[in-house]
Symmetry: C2
Subunit: 348 residues, 2 copies
DNA sequence: TTGAAAGCGCTAACAC
DNA sequence: GTGTTAGCGCTTTCAA
């Protein structure tokens, strides 16, 4: 008894630098390490008195199981990787928030990576080494070589927002429809010189939204004018530049569709800074329906899936795939709708 | 030779589900596991021919070291934990982005947690179990019991944005000065009924900013009117409610200082929705200088540290602490400045 | 310069 | 219901 008290004292005293292990708990409680393990993993298989004693000892020692050691043997880390677009785009702010919180709700930690457009492979290697239980990824390109690697790795995954050209598991909005709807909205307001500013077309969202844009023009019998289409990287400076270019045409467009709300926000800033009025001088619209877009000072007309978060559905599915191993192909494409606000009006 | 080719074939064929280990690399290359390990950890200690062979084998097998196993023995995970406020506050969007990217630049992965105000202890336990190499944390309360635990844990850490009442390592803005400066700015515009909407005062930023507010009033010989001070949780609905309450006074304030830009944005939305004009009817200002605040459609007067990112400095220091173990107390408090935009004007 | 062997802290058969 | 033992995939002495 004395010895126990003595070593207990020592164990409590020492700082976590040299941490308490299940061996310590075992020794001090008088049971084996296996039983200590059972208390954590199959508590119903251990005598309730024993359990009580061990739990008390754990508390006394402030024992925290070493998850690294546990993972090495279980081959599960209770961690998911989120490979996201950068937070400069408010869309990813909302998805990151949702995903981390939802993961946590399900008992998963989240390793977050931001893909800046040319570090995907590096990120992927890190993710593989980290032995995450699943991957949630937005930043997949249309013909991304990573797709095959991920598929072959056997690691459960879901894409959201973007998808590869063929195959893969994902939840993405019907982006072609999104592009079509917003353009149709503008055509309905009598606009016929409608410009379009897009990110690079090796990304599904950008390609498909533009396809929708063109489809709407075609249906509206408006000729496609390539001088009104700008494909650019989605950076602030480029979007600004393209916006100013369009505005300064001798025959400028009466409306601009931006491929994302984030880009529209940049465009709006540029247009207002020029002293122009939105929508009196020019209508603008985005796609994604970021939450800032509904702010009274912004009031950006957009396209979105209100009441539905694709990243959350993707996460729910991922959880299911991680627990039940029967992985069937999952491809979900909800239809979005236009949210009309104050940045679009009838062409005057 | 034949045997090697044969087993190589088998190893290449199999999917990563049962992954290649350093043992496989060893067997196939004809060296020991120890030497394979050396190739990764002290390559200069291994013969260059041997090294070349082993590296080639690694590539053939697409070997990725199991970081979990490595961590178990090295006791380092090359992972930091970011315990952040939620992304609803744009301030944390920018810090999260910076931190994850900077960590990655230094070769660290980032486990991200969002503290919603009552899961800090739970998060902390997860962090301890995950054996992260360091913690970057914004969501510390003034008298947080976690401080002692973190200090005792021996895990390198830095707070940013918020700090505990006493002790701790942190980089935080001079928040009292921030509150004082913005209030002085308004007093300089002849405002003398200035309202203040703050988050809970158990958080250093809120307490100190309010102290600065009061100090400025005192210096300006303006009596403190408690009916113009609202302490609330920082949620959207509460900030809205308080804003409307103030506006509907028979003798409303001519200016409102919000403790954060995020709160000011909510207030702005409420005020504009009422049909009032900013700043003609009422001036408003925030603190933090979020990037959205400089948007032309927002133009929020704020207080910030332009050209300086406290989270980045905190991260740099953390890296240093994690590598050189001589942990000295670090408390850094840069002075902010007012950024005047269009939401504040002379009282009419 | 390389290999053999021990062990990080945990879990999971298997035995009792 | 509990203990003994082996081993997850690495790194790291210690010998050779």
């Amino acid at each position: 008894m004395y010895t126990y008290t003595n070593s207990l004292y020592k164990l409590i005293e020492r700082r976590s630098v040299d941490l308490v292990s299940s061996k310590d708990v075992a020794k001090l409680s008088g049971f084996s390490q296996a039983t200590v393990s059972r208390v954590m993993n199959s508590p119903d298989k251990v005598n309730s008195k024993t359990k009580k004693k061990i739990l008390k000892t754990m508390e006394q020692l402030n024992y925290q199981p070493n998850l690294i050691a546990r993972s090495l043997i279980t081959n599960r880390t209770k961690t998911i990787a989120l490979i996201s677009g950068e937070l400069h785009n408010a869309f990813f702010v909302e998805t990151t928030d949702s995903i981390v919180n939802l993961a946590s709700k399900y008992g998963y930690k989240t390793m977050v990576y931001f893909d800046n457009g040319n570090n995907a492979k590096e990120i992927y290697n890190s993710v593989v080494g980290a032995k995450v239980d699943g991957i949630l990824m937005s930043s997949i390109m249309l013909d991304d070589p990573l797709l095959e690697e991920i598929e072959n790795s056997g690691i459960p995954y879901m894409f959201f927002n973007r998808r590869p050209r063929r195959g893969g598991n994902y939840v993405v909005s019907n982006n072609k429809l999104a592009g079509e709807l917003i353009t149709k909205h503008l055509i309905g307001l009598n606009h016929n010189r409608i410009a379009y500013i897009s990110g690079e077309l090796n990304i599904s969202t950008f390609l498909e939204r533009k396809q929708g844009f063109e489809q709407a023009l075609k249906k509206g019998n408006i000729e496609i004018d390539s001088s009104l289409q700008c494909i650019t990287d989605a950076s602030t400076s480029e979007v600004e530049k393209k916006t100013l270019k369009l505005i300064n045409y001798s025959n400028p467009p009466s409306a601009i569709v931006y491929a994302t709300d984030a880009m529209a926000l940049v465009g709006m800033n540029a247009i207002l800074s020029m002293g122009l009025n939105i929508p009196d001088d020019i209508s603008i619209a985005g796609i994604d329906n970021n939450s800032i877009s509904s702010h009274y000072a912004i009031q950006l007309t957009s396209v979105g899936n209100p009441g539905f978060k694709m990243e959350e559905l993707a996460m729910e599915i991922l959880i299911e795939v991680m627990t039940n191993k029967n992985i069937t192909r999952r491809q979900i494409i909800p239809n979005p709708e236009v949210i009309i606000r104050r940045t679009t009006s009838v062409k005057n």
